[in-house]
């Protein structure tokens, strides 16, 4: 990696291409023709020309030319070595990269194992950086640097030592990159000459299907790298153990070729066939196969003595011949002043389209709310042409003005006038961009409702609290549509309405009564739409009994019994369970602020139990020095962590130090190299962290207060004495006959 690929600037960096462009622009001479020149010569040329063209060269361009990067430029995990330039790093040569993903339903757990070497002959400091996919959270870490070991531990946030060492210096680097990606950054100090650094990182993410398709992305878009003179040793292996939880339809790897090994209809093993970086992320997508009845599958995981269950339910595929269920559609539209303009303009046609697509058998109503709520029809009406024309006129009249009162319109929307009509699906679309001021009565209102009403809140812009709205949707057995940009309102609404037209499984319920359940968040289940599975998580006492699922599929009743003992093993279920429970606690915390302290403690406990990073917990790295083994040299012979893998069978750990000696001297010269460890490996970071120790104030006001008190006491007594004396004198004066005065005078 140190040696720039000969053909062009490194495509792994963002700045790489910029440099080439800059080199092409600034000097009139065609710089692009120089591609055959050696990288070093080229870098030098770029630097030189920049100097000629501009007396004050752009340091960024020079950095890129020299192969220096910022942490946020990495597109795969990498070890960055400190250079003399502040906050600019040199990439350490990668020896191997291994990513293993275990997918359990919507959960994807990835274990990244990478090995790097120190190309220099001195001691260097570095950062391990990994660009995290969206929604991923790192929960375990294990780094080996020579015989030192750094382990990740989840620690309660308020128990964190105040001073976490030099790491604090890099805090700012943990910011999301320019394109919003989050980077995982951990400091790696004191890497010895030629020493190997191995990193193992575990992260978990919950995949959200888009239009029924799950998509997994692994950050691997780095250029293939040659280490030293022509000797490439940058092996890559990727394997995915895909347990989808439903019969798999199409499984596709978008950028790389994969070898697949099917295990069952819902379980497949995949291996990337290429053993090199291909310059593209590994992207895998899969979707469910069509099925004529709903499919329920179950996974189990044992964590810390408890069993956790994950059930996935996939609705039956759409049967074009089957009649769509009759619907009652209630549209509640926020018409507060903030909705004026673009938002309403976008929403109106979408709402009209929704009404136009209603069938004669369907019913509907429209509510608008601002400071006051106004319902178009006293009760829902049949979607006749006449009624729809009235509704369209009503929608045309909508103007944004006033504030937002949510309770009355929600109450009106949820009021079910014909609750016995079970064949009809009642859908409430609640459109707002206002902040929820008092969530609790709203939750209560929705929770009380039950019945056949489903609530689909649409949160627009940045006003609504998504967590609270999501909870509303959950209680209302629908789901949340979150629209961040107002220009997307129309498109997203049309999407929602077309989806709502065909619920495939309705009135679902999970009966856990045959299971010994242990504090699980049992929420009502939403209606299911085409190719959109729902997942349930629970913590159970033992793996006995069964889960009874009931509902209506395609208008007909559907019952399925899932035997707990037949659950397949999965991973990350305990974490998903805890994560969902924490989300709920966080919502309660926001809804009932006076419970905050109590809920915070519960959140911290749950997160610590399951090893989750949450608002109350952090992942910290703990460094330990392993004792040198009794037989010296043994540890060197052992394969380092992360290299024991299929892809590496037969190729033992290779010391790349020799090869690295031939690495470009110019690049190595930029490294910030020390001839000895900067400080003692164990005591260094902490003591060094103190840097400037400020001794606290250690004087109590006790003495001063006692002294001041005594003074006041004395003063008060003198005052009292004086008062009494004054009294006496004045009385004496009064009693003395007038003549007395004359005597005095």
């Amino acid at each position: 990696m140190l040696a720039l690929p000969a053909q062009a600037a490194p495509s792994e960096t963002l700045a790489g291409p910029t440099t080439t462009r800059a080199a092409g622009k600034t000097p009139p001479a065609p710089a692009k023709k120089e591609t055959t020149a050696s990288p070093v010569a080229k870098s030098a040329a770029v630097a030189k020309k920049a100097v000629v063209a501009n007396p004050r060269p752009n340091p960024r361009k020079l950095d890129a030319a020299a192969g220096l990067v910022r942490p946020d430029q990495l597109r795969t995990g990498g070890l960055l070595l400190e250079t003399r330039r502040k906050a600019r790093f040199l990439r350490a040569p990668r020896i191997s990269t291994d990513m293993r993903v275990e997918v359990t339903g919507p959960i994807a757990r990835t274990r990244v194992s990478q090995a790097f070497s120190n190309p220099s002959e001195g001691w260097v400091e570095g950062l391990y950086v990994f660009p995290l996919p969206e929604g991923a959270s790192v929960d375990d870490l294990d780094m080996r640097i020579g015989n030192r070991r750094i382990e990740g531990r989840i620690v309660a946030r308020d128990r964190l030592p105040r001073n976490l060492g030099k790491a604090a210096r890099y805090r700012s680097l943990a910011k999301p990159g320019r394109d919003g990606r989050r980077m995982f950054i951990s400091r790696v100090a004191n890497i010895g000459p030629g020493e190997m650094v191995t990193v193992r990182l575990d992260y978990q993410q919950t995949l959200e299907p888009a239009a029924g398709t799950f998509r997994l992305r692994l950050p691997l878009s780095a250029a293939p790298v040659s280490v030293g003179a022509g000797k490439t040793d940058d092996r890559v292996s990727v394997s995915v153990d895909l347990k989808a939880g439903f019969p798999l339809g199409k499984v596709k790897s978008h950028n790389q070729e994969v070898a697949t090994e099917p295990k069952s209809d819902s379980h497949v093993l995949l291996h990337m066939t290429a053993a090199r970086m291909t310059g593209k992320d590994f992207v895998l997508s899969w979707e469910p196969a069509a099925s004529d009845k709903p499919v329920a599958r179950m996974f189990r995981e044992r964590v810390g003595g408890s069993d956790y269950l994950l059930a996935t339910i996939l609705p039956a595929g759409r049967d074009p011949s089957a009649a769509k269920p009759a619907r009652e559609l209630i549209l509640a539209i926020d018409t507060s002043s903030s909705m004026a303009g673009l938002t309403l303009k976008q929403a109106k046609p979408a709402l009209k389209l929704a009404l136009a697509r209603l069938r004669e058998t369907d019913r509907f109503n429209v509510i608008r709310f601002g400071t006051k709520a106004e319902t178009l029809f006293p009760a829902s009406v049949v979607a006749t042409g006449e009624n729809i024309a009235r509704a369209n006129a009503f929608l045309d009249d909508l103007k944004g003005e006033g504030g937002t009162e949510m309770q009355p319109p929600l109450e009106a929307a949820l009021r079910d006038t014909t609750p016995t009509d079970e064949a009809t699906v009642r859908q409430v679309v609640f459109l707002t961009d206002g902040a929820i001021r008092n969530a609790r009565p709203l939750f209560k209102l929705i929770g009380r409702q039950g019945g056949r009403t489903r609530l689909y809140p649409v949160a627009i812009g940045s006003g609504p609290d998504r967590a609270l709205m999501r909870r509303m949707a959950q209680l209302g057995r629908g789901d949340l549509v979150s629209v961040r940009l107002r220009k997307d309102v129309g498109r997203r609404l049309v999407g929602l309405f077309s989806r709502l037209e065909a619920p495939l499984a309705t009135d679902l319920s999970a009966d856990w009564s045959a299971v010994r359940i242990d504090g699980s968040p049992v929420d009502p289940l939403p209606d299911l739409f085409e190719r959109e599975p729902v997942t349930l998580v629970a913590k159970v006492d033992n793996l006995a009994g069964h889960l009874l699922l009931r509902g209506r599929s395609g208008g007909k009743p559907w019952v399925e019994m899932v035997d707990l003992s037949k659950a397949e093993p999965g991973s990350g279920i305990g974490k998903l369970f805890a994560g969902r429970l924490i989300d709920r606690l966080e919502t309660s915390r926001r809804a009932v602020p006076r419970m905050a302290a109590k809920l915070d403690r519960r959140i911290a406990r749950l997160a610590l139990e399951q090893g989750l990073v949450s608002r109350k917990t952090r992942l910290v790295a703990v460094e330990t020095v392993e004792k040198p083994p009794a037989t010296a040299g043994l540890s060197r012979a052992l394969p380092p962590l992360g290299l024991v893998g299929k892809a590496h069978a037969g190729t033992g750990p290779v010391s790349t130090a020799a090869a690295d000696k031939s690495a470009r001297p110019m690049l190595l010269a930029m490294l910030n190299v020390a001839s000895a460890p900067v400080s003692d490996a164990v005591a260094g970071p902490i003591a060094g962290a103190a840097g400037k120790l400020v001794l606290p104030i250690t004087a109590t006001p006790a003495q001063r207060r006692i002294e001041a008190g005594l003074l006041l006491l004395v003063f008060g007594m003198v005052l009292a004495g004086a008062a009494l004396m004054w009294q006496q004198v004045s009385r004496q004066v009064k009693r003395t006959p007038r003549s007395g005065w004359e005597d005095w005078s």
Partner: protein, 229 residues
């Protein structure tokens, strides 16, 4: 006439017949006396708290050594004992806390976060108020032994090497040193009654391990943070 006035002064009956001005005067005097008494009470309370807390902390410390877990000295306490600092020559001992911020120092010497635990290689600093616990620092002499007993039972002897006066932010410790050093800090001058920028530092170096001491220096240390949002 004068003699009569003086004789009647202590008479309580005089108060009842006060003029308005006299009443105000007396009321002011009462308030001042009450404030004075309050301040004295508060000052004494600070000292009493420091003494009483040490009694409770001592008990909690023994409990902590027995259980291996830090025990709260009283049920609602936010502080936990960390180590006992013993001054054999002076016949005194204090239970030190794992915190040196805010109110913690009212109860006992506090360990400075960011410094190592006593017994580990590097610098370990404890601070305490000069007018309560660390009043005795003035009597500590070079060559004295300070014995530190940690709640995990480990025992370390330190020998006082020097004492010096520094500004609170200019104590130029050798932070990269791996020599186990104990520093006790309090405000200077020791008998002043107003906080100032100066600190009195007593520094001690670890003596070779006594028989009972374990080797805790190999315990894990938190050294790096992972920045994750």
């Amino acid at each position: 006439m004068r003699a009569g006035f003086l004789a009647r002064l202590p008479g309580a009956s005089a108060v009842g017949r006060l003029t308005p001005f006299g009443k105000i005067n007396l009321a002011v005097a009462g308030v001042v006396i009450a404030a004075g008494a309050g301040l004295i009470g508060n000052g004494l309370f600070i000292r009493a708290k420091a003494m009483l807390a040490q009694v409770l902390l001592d008990r909690a410390f023994d409990g902590s050594v027995a259980t291996g877990e830090p025990v709260r000295p009283w049920s609602w306490a936010s502080i936990r004992p960390m180590a006992r600092l013993e001054f054999p020559r002076l016949g005194r001992a204090f239970v030190a806390l794992d915190d040196s911020t805010g109110d913690a120092l009212a109860f006992g010497p506090g360990h400075l976060p960011g410094t190592v635990r006593p017994g580990e290689p590097g610098l370990s600093v404890f601070a305490a108020h000069r007018d309560t616990h660390f009043r005795l620092l003035g009597k500590v002499r070079t060559g004295d032994v300070i014995r530190v007993r940690r709640i995990d039972g480990a025992l370390f002897d330190y020998k006082v090497t020097r004492s010096r006066v520094v500004k609170s932010d200019e104590a130029d410790f050798d932070l990269d040193s791996v020599k186990p050093v104990l520093a006790l800090s309090t405000c200077w001058p020791l008998d002043s009654d107003s906080p100032g920028p100066f600190r009195y530092l007593v520094e001690a170096e670890m003596l070779p391990k006594v028989a009972k001491a374990q080797t805790p220096a190999e315990g894990p240390l938190i050294s790096t943070a992972l920045m994750q949002k």
